[in-house]
Point group: C2
DNA sequence: TGGCTTTGCGCAAAGCCTTGCGCAAAGCGA
DNA sequence: TCGCTTTGCGCAAGGCTTTGCGCAAAGCCA
């Protein structure tokens, strides 16, 4: 940098300002500096800049690395928006476990990240949240919104979307609709359940609690829960699965049981699959705008980084219902 | 740090050495320093360390962020191993496009990463590779191995694994085996094709070139290629798809055509699916050790970072064949 | 006890950039 | 032409560690 300054006949501070555009530099001078940089092959040193400026232009993302397409798209959305904003992104794996999550976040904090996007694990309120309170670092929560928390959050309209799909099933004449519930302690799980209830209430339909079975948000749990439903005295005529993993398990169970979809049983599910129309029949799903959620999260984070005192904002993005054949509406 | 030094009655250099264990410090002194650190709540500043040490303990990963489970597992493997080695990982999305890839890699280089793991895009040799030659940064290639290149590489035994599966189909009596080829220009594509040929040669079976159709490595390409096969005068009795996306497309095509698997057509595919046994019937696949490939890549990278002159090494990890029902061997 | 090897630690330079402060020159209106 | 506002840029402090060099104290052997 000193060399460039000398070559251009200016001071290093001017070179710095040319590089960063941080203050007015006469066009002629700027030209000279840029030329000198080119000739000398000057390479900016980001580390030194970070040290000097006390900021490293890096944000962290704490998320489970589970091989779930939903997460991948979310990450893409976050990465894309961060790149656009000129921010680096460091991703750490929480393994969807609060303790790992806390360790990972502590690590990020030690690296002096300037902001954090977190898709919290179950139980994070007792472990990771206190950490975040101690270190006043801007952060935004994605996917799992906690209405009690006064923090920036971005998620999908779980309740409304679920209600809409269940409405649809009810309108097709189903009165006994089973639901595979997501793991307890996740706001997404409870919100989707609320949507189920809301649709029933609107239709004046009673809810048989036997039709609500816990699928633990996993493929295996979904499989087991589906079996439970099938073995009821009065099994459901339709099933709503609250996430993609459970859907996979449930489909396997139905296939094994020889249940034909949608002839014997109508199915709808939360989370869209790239391969949703691969199944026979195509799956009716609720598609989340994953990438948009990620992008929005970064925008909220930027806002908070610039204005730490801003009032917390909880954003809900609408979901899209993908009508395919499994719900039985288009035979 | 200065404060800690003062509080412990030592110099900052001693504090530094205590923190890093870089030279002998008398136990008593170390104790004092550590105590002072605790009392003062000393926080290490990684940025400053990077600047001073001229190294930032960060490696880059250039990979497509496509929502393909294979990549996710690969990333997990890389991330896990990097974390274990105390390295930070910055991931950039190549969009599987050589130009984007080059830009992304340039960006990483500008950030002074100390090593790079790259899953190259088609055409990278003309765009990204020269970049890597200009900046002598240690790197290792994953997934797409180029035998002509004298660089560190990690991949799977594409040829042997493919040959084994095709052997299996042949042993079941199939003599007309279709293949959905991956996009041209990818070593994985050509190696898998070689495996197909090798199996035929071993069995003394001629190869009908009409049975080799281009699936472009995409789901849509796979669908189209599958249709092509079905419309042949003498369609195949078995099909091998060279990656997971094409498999998805092909299955959709077969379903639409009313082809029953494996009764009418046997199927086997490269790349395992978490949901492979969800399909009716379960898919016989070649499972790559994705996480292991990623971990191994980081190990190779560490080796090269420590010993830049070491001879380049190309590692092939064995794949595992997952026998399910689609190949028709267990009716 | 004297000379030599360890052991332990301080000194200070180096690493590269950012930025508040302030000065000088240029521009402008009267 | 004078005084005042802009415009443009230099000075130098600062940010936090690492690390080569070298000195002093301690330990060891004869």
């Amino acid at each position: 940098m000193t060399e460039v300054a000398r070559a251009a006949g200016v001071s290093v501070s001017t070179v710095s300002h040319v590089v960063n555009g941080t203050r007015l530099v006469a066009p002629k001078t700027r030209e000279r500096v840029q030329h000198a940089m080119r000739v000398l092959g000057y390479q900016h040193h980001p580390t030194a800049r970070s040290l000097a400026a006390g900021s490293n232009q890096t944000i962290g993302l704490a998320i489970t690395a589970a091989s779930n397409p939903y997460w991948v798209e979310l990450i893409q959305g976050i990465d894309g928006e961060a790149t656009r904003a000129g921010l680096n992104l460091i991703i750490v794996d929480t393994r969807d476990d609060a303790r790992h999550e806390a360790a990972a976040v502590a690590n990020l904090i030690a690296h002096h990240i300037e902001g954090l996007v977190i898709a919290p694990a179950v139980g994070w309120r007792d472990v990771t949240l206190p950490l975040l309170r101690d270190h006043p670092i801007p952060y935004v929560v994605v996917d799992r919104i906690d209405p009690d928390l006064r923090v920036d959050q971005v998620g999908v309209e779980n309740e409304a979307a679920t209600a809409a799909v269940v409405d649809h099933l009810i309108s097709l004449g189903h009165t006994r609709i089973g639901m595979l519930l997501g793991i307890e302690g996740l706001s997404t799980s409870s919100e989707r359940l609320r949507g189920y209830h809301a649709a029933h209430q609107r239709a004046g339909l009673p809810v048989d609690r036997a039709l609500l079975v816990d699928g633990l948000s996993t493929s295996d749990g979904g499989r087991r829960a589906a079996w439970e439903l099938l073995e009821l005295d009065r099994p459901p005529t339709a099933v709503f699965a609250a996430n993609n993993n459970m859907t996979i398990g449930a489909l396997a169970a139905f296939r094994a049981a020889g249940v034909k979809v949608p002839r014997d049983l109508a199915i709808a599910a939360f989370d869209d699959f790239a391969w949703a129309d691969l199944f026979s029949p195509g799956l009716t799903t609720v598609a989340q705008p994953s990438a948009a959620i990620g992008a929005r999260a970064v925008q909220l984070l930027l806002r908070r980084m610039n204005d730490p005192g801003a009032p917390p904002q909880a954003v809900r993005l609408p979901a899209e219902i993908m009508h395919r054949e499994s719900c039985g509406c288009t035979p």
